[in-house]
Amino acid sequence: MRISRLYEMWRRFANIASLTITAVCAVVVMAPVFIILIYLLANGIRSVNWEFLSSLPKPPGDEGGGMANAIVGSFYMVGLGLLLSLPVGVGAGVYLAEFGRSRYGNAVRFMADVLNGVPSIVIGISVWALLVVPMRSFSALAGGVALSFIMIPMIARTTEEMVRAVPNSLRAASLSVGATYARTMWSVVLPAARGGIVTGVMLALARAFGEAAPLLFTALGNRFWNLYLDRPMANLPTQIYEYAKSPYQDWHRQAWAAALVLIAVVLVLNVVARMSTRERFRALR
């Protein structure tokens, strides 16, 4: 009798204690996000203005100027990376989901996971050796390729998961009304998996957008406008790095503003990713 009372008290205590600990952990998980956001807002919001978004960098001594070329450059190279990685990533993902139960499939899956874990600076140096040295020039192309190396494994692995999650009954239904396998993939399976794939792509974009290391030795950076593939191109992460380590207050101010712009874009990409997942669940219901 007494023992069971004690035991019950212990159970209650353990319950409350575990709940408190996990709740505190949950808060700790959220805290860095809010700290980063608040800190960036406090330091950067005053400097995010039209001049910052629309003009080129100015040399020290002249106040003001902006990072228009770096903002455009970041979008340009991430877009280029997407262009290269989306077909390859989705193609590989479909292959792995549909035909990947072979030794070759396992090897591809393993390599994709390895590539996903390769430090991004290593990717930058590899692309430098692969493209920059033979072309004898730093270039937007090299930057885009480096970013695509980061995105390909992420897109391939999410596509695989999403395609595999599409119920077999849908494939069977499509095949039984006489559609070819290719038609089934294109018109039935991929659309059903679309929400999940979009989520994966958005997360890959968000990751690529914030990467400085792969661009340091590929895109290099540029003080001026450039839209050519074969020339150095400005981008936000390396520009933040350069401005933050300068001796000038005005550049520090702009580095904060650039960081705020960067985090805003990453946040938007994440929210879009979240929304497309919700759409997917609605579609499956």
């Binding site: 960098p57 100015k58 040399p59 020290p60 001594g61 002249d62 877009g79 280029l80 262009l83 989306l86 077909p87 920059v132 040295v133 004898r136 020039s137 730093f138 294109w186 018109s187 991929l190 659309p191 679309r194 340091l216 290099l220 950076g221 540029n222 003080r223 001026f224 406008w225 450039n226 839209l227 050519y228 593939l229 074969d230 020339r231 150095p232 350069e242 933050a244 380590k245 300068s246 001796p247 000038y248 207050q249």
Partner: protein, 352 residues
């Protein structure tokens, strides 16, 4: 419906691909803005020279429309990328030695474009005046032999200054750096013990102290730690309101880093430079010369891959060595003494 949106995605991708490929078509090395064609020159290297280089680049673009894109990747990176031929010119705080030149497959010239002084900065609450340091005391502080700010030898050099009973915290660079090279080159020149125990280099094994990454890292550490002493390029000291020391030069005078004292040092180096343009200019003679002074060198190809671009680059550096020098002062650099600028122009003349 869904099928159509998939097709739209595919269509947009193909269209973008075509647009980018089409955009790539114009002649290499030129940008077309409206009707005029703009040359873009890429240089990289020394972090120290970045502020003045972006000033020059901006002014020169206003004058001529030629765009000089300079990126600060560090002196070592500048030499490496120049060697690989991925950039049009490199910039470094430490001249390429005759030994290193053997590794180059192409012929090139190197010449100084601007100079700078390294300031010894410190954080001593209550002490706002410029302390006076002798080379021996400076070396012993960085060797860890002088441990307190109120050490007898420091007090003797600074009569009338109320030095606190505080531990000295040495702050040095944790990364490889041209600034470290100039500073340790100086200490090796003035102290045999330093030369034997530590030596000169872009990174050395420091006997004492804490590391900071980059000039900005050392600046931050010195600002935060009472009792700290470190070395940074003068513009970091000035921009961050750090107090810096006057150093006793070879002529026995205490001098502060700055435009005129640095320029004097480069003028005194002319004879030495005539022997070897890459020779060290620390601890130069002259009443008024600041002893911890160094050049920034630019590396340019003698046999350029693109002759038109190289001609534009030559014009740019001619402008830098003539009109560009006066801009150096505003940004706390040291303009080249007239004689040195002339030597650089002669070197530049070797470029076709």
């Amino acid at each position: 419906m869904r099928q159509r949106s998939m097709s739209i995605v595919a269509g947009v991708l193909v269209a973008t691909a075509l647009a980018i490929v089409a955009g790539c078509a114009p002649k290499k090395g030129t940008t077309t803005t409206g009707s005029e064609t703009k040359v873009q020159i890429t240089g990289a290297g020394s972090t120290f020279v970045n502020p003045i280089m972006s000033r020059w680049s901006s002014e020169y673009e206003k004058l001529t429309g030629v765009q000089v894109n300079y990126q600060s990747i560090g002196s070592g990176g500048g030499i490496q990328q120049f060697k690989e031929g991925t950039i049009d010119f490199g910039a470094t705080d430490v001249a390429v030695t005759a030994e290193e030149q053997k590794d180059f497959t192409r012929q090139f010239v190197q010449f100084p474009v601007v100079a700078g002084t390294v300031a010894v900065v410190y954080n001593l609450p209550g002490v706002t005046q410029n302390l006076q340091l002798s080379p021996e005391v400076l070396a012993d502080i960085f060797l860890g032999k002088i441990k307190k700010w109120n050490d007898r030898r420091l007090a003797e050099l600074n009569p009338g200054v109320n030095l606190p009973d505080q531990d000295i915290v040495v702050v040095h660079r944790s990364d490889g750096s041209g600034t470290t090279y100039i500073f340790t080159d100086y200490l090796s020149t003035v102290s045999t013990e330093w030369q034997q125990r530590v030596g000169r280099g872009k990174s050395v094994s420091w006997p004492v102290g804490v590391g900071g990454k980059g000039n900005e890292g050392v600046t931050g550490q010195v600002k935060q730690l009472p009792g700290a002493v470190g070395y940074v390029e003068l513009n970091y000291a000035v921009q961050n309101n750090l107090t810096f020391a006057a150093i006793r030069n070879a002529a026995g005078k205490f001098v502060l880093p700055g435009k005129s004292t640095g320029e004097e040092a480069t003028r005194m180096a002319v004879e030495k430079l005539k022997q070897d343009i890459g020779s060290s200019v620390v601890n130069m003679p002259g009443e008024n010369s600041y002893p911890i002074t160094g050049f920034v060198y630019v590396l340019v190809d003698k046999q350029p891959k693109d002759a038109a671009k190289s001609a534009e680059m030559k014009k740019f550096f001619e402008w830098v060595l003539r009109d560009g020098q006066k801009m150096a002062v505003e940004l706390d650099y040291v303009p080249l003494a007239e004689e040195v600028a002339q030597m650089s122009l002669q070197k530049l003349a070797e470029v076709p």
